[in-house]
């Protein structure tokens, strides 16, 4: 081949690679607990987000759920390689914390606050080592009362603070559902009900909650490059 021909070939090869890259969808994995496990169901927040994107003609994303009921932060850690890294995600949305708090009460096996942070940071480190972006999410709610009288409000706020601090410390995008839900309940739960506003049982999202979360996720996710 002449040098000229090589240059032409190289040009087209690069063009092809570029167009291919441009076409490649961003793979987003939602990594979490039962709320995320339900998120892939027809009315779940992940499915709704897919619809939102489709309606807007946005087709640059591939959304997948990796949620397992009852998972705490160290459950995510233990299955991170198998369920997330091995799928080569571009973005991993970590949404965990409800069970780390809740299981203290229900099984005596919640997660110590300092270990919560250690495993959380260890997960981020491994995801970043796999060249994926990370989005953090605070646990939304265990009980929807709006006056901080849900049994586990204090601890849930404490663990949400830990996540906020990690996000600030590592400059990571954050979907602060804890704060967003708290504000929403103050404005939209006049009877101070403990469920039925955005959740079916105080924890798991109802239809409105799934819609709400899908919208909140997109608000942040759309800016993750």
């Amino acid at each position: 081949m002449t040098n000229k021909l090589i240059l032409v070939f190289t040009f087209f090869a690069l063009l092809l690679m570029y167009s291919f890259k441009a076409d490649k969808k961003k793979k987003v994995i939602f990594f979490g607990d039962s709320i995320t496990q339900a998120g892939v169901e027809p009315k779940g927040y992940i499915s709704i987000l897919k619809d939102i994107l489709a309606k807007q003609g946005i087709n640059g994303y591939e959304l997948a759920g990796a949620g397992i009921g009852g998972n705490k932060v160290y459950d995510l850690y233990l299955r991170l390689e198998d369920d997330v890294i091995s799928q080569s995600p571009d973005i991993v949305v970590i949404w965990v914390g409800v069970n780390d708090v809740w299981h203290k009460r229900s099984f005596g096996t919640g997660t110590d606050a300092d270990k919560f942070e250690k495993f959380y940071r260890a997960i981020i480190k491994k995801i970043e080592a796999a060249h994926a972006k990370v989005v953090l999410v605070t646990p939304a709610t265990i009980g929807e009362k709006n006056d901080y009288s849900n049994e586990l409000d204090g601890d849930l706020n404490k663990y949400s603070s830990i996540i906020r601090n990690i996000a600030a410390d590592k400059q990571l995008p954050l979907i602060d559902l804890r704060r967003i839900f708290t504000d929403y309940e103050k404005a939209n739960n006049p009877s101070n009900a403990d469920r039925g506003i955005l959740t079916a049982d105080g924890v798991h999202l109802n239809d409105k909650g799934n819609q709400f979360v899908a919208e909140q996720v997109w608000t942040v996710l759309k800016d993750v490059k």
Copy 2:
């Protein structure tokens, strides 16, 4: 004796009884847990309240503590006869709730919310049957953080609500320390410390806390007839 003489005698007898009654001090028993147990120590809130009254020249009260560390509502119930009723109090200030919440975490033996209310009401019933007045107090704090991120804030708010509802339902005087402390922390704990403002360890009153509680108690107690 002539009838006339009898009348005169009766008159003076009644006068005497009345003056005696007027002189009789109101016996106030503070019924509670370790916070009240510490309240009778030299710098405790009960001792401080005695000083406050003495300085104001008010000598119509006799203040006594009946606090035992670790007590929950049903501990109060079990020792109500021996430690309170048998002392013939005029007023009983019930201050309980911290351990009912705390022991869920530390021993697995906290008190169910509905049983908390049942025993609380049973205590009131027995005190009233003994012709004493009852003053209710909500549990002040387990951790002094001002943003509802103390681990047990939610549950403590829940149990405080139960006490508020009983007070409203039965028209009983209430010293709402939970609300008073929460407001105080928002105004006076700018660094969001979990202790050291009104408590030594997040639960037990420091000098400032004892002074503060003594004043708050008097605000309500002075109007209990």
Copy 3:
């Protein structure tokens, strides 16, 4: 009436009273938790005991259940008057303890060992004050493994010891189901299953368990005069 006639009348009156007393059935109330609540169902241990007595032609007993799911010792205490004393029982069989231990794990609201004993003794005192006999029963099992590896075995043994000590101290009849079940499991649970031998779920009796308990209860109950 002549004195002679009075004597004759008195004789017959006494005879009548005696025969009436002889005819009066002994009312036995089984006072407990969900296991006893299920005991009155067609295949429950109380129903089976009725059948056993009927088949043997024994008709001197009236058996009734007063079991409510989730009850701990202080729940029994709180409803003792309404559900038991008011029914004028001759014998009360107290079977409680599983939830006092279990709720430590599941709700954080188990019963402290020393309070368990206090309420237990308070119940006995009230029943005896109502001139009824008391029969004590130790909690059978939470998990049927036969090698002391059920999570709550230690605590269940501890609370059973408390009941045994009360029975010995007060010379009361005891149906020691804890020991009886433990022995049974060692002999009849070769695969070391955690359920399915005498219980459906490790706690609640299956058909065989109900039959077994009915027989064990009768062994003791028949001698309570």
Copy 4:
């Protein structure tokens, strides 16, 4: 150099390396919780084991402690690299489990049985990948009562079974302190005391306990090649 000379040199070099290797002490790291943290103190079990070896003229071992109070299995996992692997041990003795059970009660943050096994196996895997041998130890005791009436006996037996199963499954040496202590208590604790036999407080070894454990450890350790 001639080839002949090279061969001779190589021969002596290998001889030297071999003799060096023969002289090299086996580095044993005891990896655990507060019991092991205390083990390196003058009267601790690790110090005693050093004495035992010294008296027997055995100088092929270097013993080191890596115990931190309050550690559960996942705490060991999190600091495995820093505290153990980086020290290039030949043998790692893993002694953990008390807090995994105990913290369920005291903090609500014990370890789920299935996660206990997962982290335990993950630790073994990493140690073996670093070419060190592993010795497993079951948790000895939480309370010394000999009739399975210590509150946490059931759960401690359950977690000990998990360790036994791992040892059997992976053909690893096991120091079954749970079984050894249980047998010892039956023979040497006639008053059924809950402490004071081999422990000071039911958990942490007293002088006799440290001596006993040192001997038990050596029984197994001496055969680990």
